[in-house]
Symmetry: none
Subunit: 215 residues, 4 copies
Amino acid sequence: MKKTKVNGCSLMQYLKDDVKNSILQAALSEFKRHGYSNASMRQIANSAGITTGNIYRYFKNKEDLFHELIHPVYEKFVQYMIEIKDDLDDNCAIDTNNPLDYLRKVESTIVELFKESNVELRILLNLSNGSSYEPVKQELIQLAALILEQVFIPGGDQQDKAMIEKYNLAHMLAGTLIEGACIILRDHEDGETVRQLVDELMRVYCAGIISRLKI
Amino acid sequence: MKKTKVNGCSLMQYLKDDVKNSILQAALSEFKRHGYSNASMRQIANSAGITTGNIYRYFKNKEDLFHELIHPVYEKFVQYMIEIKDDLDDNCAIDTNNPLDYLRKVESTIVELFKESNVELRILLNLSNGSSYEPVKQELIQLAALILEQVFIPGGDQQDKAMIEKYNLAHMLAGTLIEGACIILRDHEDGETVRQLVDELMRVYCAGIISRLKI
Amino acid sequence: MKKTKVNGCSLMQYLKDDVKNSILQAALSEFKRHGYSNASMRQIANSAGITTGNIYRYFKNKEDLFHELIHPVYEKFVQYMIEIKDDLDDNCAIDTNNPLDYLRKVESTIVELFKESNVELRILLNLSNGSSYEPVKQELIQLAALILEQVFIPGGDQQDKAMIEKYNLAHMLAGTLIEGACIILRDHEDGETVRQLVDELMRVYCAGIISRLKI
Amino acid sequence: MKKTKVNGCSLMQYLKDDVKNSILQAALSEFKRHGYSNASMRQIANSAGITTGNIYRYFKNKEDLFHELIHPVYEKFVQYMIEIKDDLDDNCAIDTNNPLDYLRKVESTIVELFKESNVELRILLNLSNGSSYEPVKQELIQLAALILEQVFIPGGDQQDKAMIEKYNLAHMLAGTLIEGACIILRDHEDGETVRQLVDELMRVYCAGIISRLKI
DNA sequence: CATGAATGAGGCTTCATTCAT
DNA sequence: GATGAATGAAGCCTCATTCAT
């Protein structure tokens, strides 16, 4: 890996990117297999075909490597959820007769992300123990719950007790939805199967929720 | 070889139990926070207010400590699930028009266990990685999936592709159901709220599943 | 184990001796099985039917317990060897035509000790690693070598080189003799077999030595 | 993955070998002093002038370090012993009038090994307790005993009791012979002296054994 | 006297991280 | 830029010894 400059354009950059990418790829595989805290930097270096110490020229430390791998997906995920929520805020209320329509919009964003970044999401949601992303899952569930709250408590004009119950319900369903997604991601790698099962999961939830709302 | 005094007041006894309990309590907290394999015996000892070596007077090793904490709940849980399944086998088929009736029976057994052993169940199901209980969650989901398969594939007389899809669906829903229960347990300690939310969760699932079956 | 005094004669003494003896007996077995440094005080206490801490009322520490067990045999052994040597000094020279006669005297002392204190001797010679008796084996070999030197270098009136060679020979044979005894002790517990094999060992050595002296 | 420079002078190589050798040397000394199971990795590291963890860059674990130290000698030793035995089997019977001739052949092989690998052999034979080499000494003594049995029980046509006695005698003498060799090795480093003493040892044994056979 | 719970130092081993080369 | 040897703290666990009871 020799330094060569051609026309003032450093080829190094390309080489460095190569190395960095192979580290990231090796890290992805290692984190997926063993989780954050049980992943071995040495193993990552071996898989990437470089030496242990060299990782630290590209990443400050294990946490930084994890961050660089997971952060983009995390940001996208949060952004999508916020967009969904904002969308919902603008439309003020969901069409409770057909929430499936609404949720189907979710597919075009989140499910895409699921299909694209399957592994990163699994790591983020289920294998980030010991890292600074450990509490993220809860945050995402909070966010999902905010969305569902709008379904159950459209006006917020209810009595306290009923409201708390619906608040709890929204949180619980948000959690199960996200866990459901995690399970799908864990058990299936094929994009189409993932899409299909997410579709089913949402269908079941929507039907259930609609039925629930009619009470 | 416990010191027991005639008048029923043995100080030693209390002290030893105290220590054992504080270890168990500290371990519960540590396992809950970091999972089995990332839990630190040193940290458990510190939390319990004793030295590391002293833990080993009460438990043979880390696995044994985990076992003593988790095993009772595990046994009860498996037993309940088997009873439920046997019950279903005897009745041959579920009343698809009213599966809620059936599922409501589940409440009287499993939900009780959930209410009693909140944290232990969460550890068993989500944080036992690296221990001998690691495969338990999958086994339980298999068991739950078997039950759901009876709902979706009553005769088993379907084309292969459709069957695989329904098989996947059963597994996914089984997983989300169990995760849903875990989430409820994590977020709520009040028995009545837990019961109510499990009820809701089942209602949603049943409604969703019924709606799904009509397709 | 209650303190009872009868006619001013403390029964305690007897009881204490009982305990002390059971410790010694248990220790003998443990040291024999695992050697000094791998022996476990806890195991000794268990075998003796008492508690760990109680050992320390009878023996200052592990080394002291070992000492009290091994020292008598050690002293006797050394004493016998010195007696043998003194005997040899007095008689000025061994009857080289019949050294077996002389060595047979050894039987009546040392072999008796071997037969009586089989286990202690094995521990002293082969299993004292880590204790203060570790170098004893070499000392005993030195002593035995002194005796053999008198056989090979009766007058000490030899040329330097030949003398050094005979000195080495004496040491080597002393060492092998003692090791031979250890091996016999390790492999046989039956007193008669031990006596017989020691006899054979000496016969072989004497024949060999006599033959050697004729050169 | 060793750095090697074209001009044959790689500083790294030297350094690494230096460290590995100093570990091996420190380990040799520690094992010799305390035996396998009581040897301390920390002490070995200290003696080698490195940190404890660094040993594990060179050796997988304690057993591996021991193995790398002892295995070569073990293999050679076993091979020689088998060759000797095969040789004896081919010649069907030993010339009992002159077994010294036969044993002298042994010198040209085993004694060489003894002279080369003094300490390693002593560790292998006397200080391997707790390692996978623990049973080796007994195996070697068995092998040596087999050879001696051919001397004492040529036809195997004896009465039971006499045979058992001779069997015991063969084992005892085999053990003492091997121990004798160990002792010589421990006390002398000079090759010529070792050769001479082994010669003496064998002479004594042969004379003794011949004399014994005449009974 | 006896108990046995507790300590503390040490056992082997792993691993993220640093640094001289 | 890259190397990989070295560090040091932490992992689980054992055990002789002490001490409050």
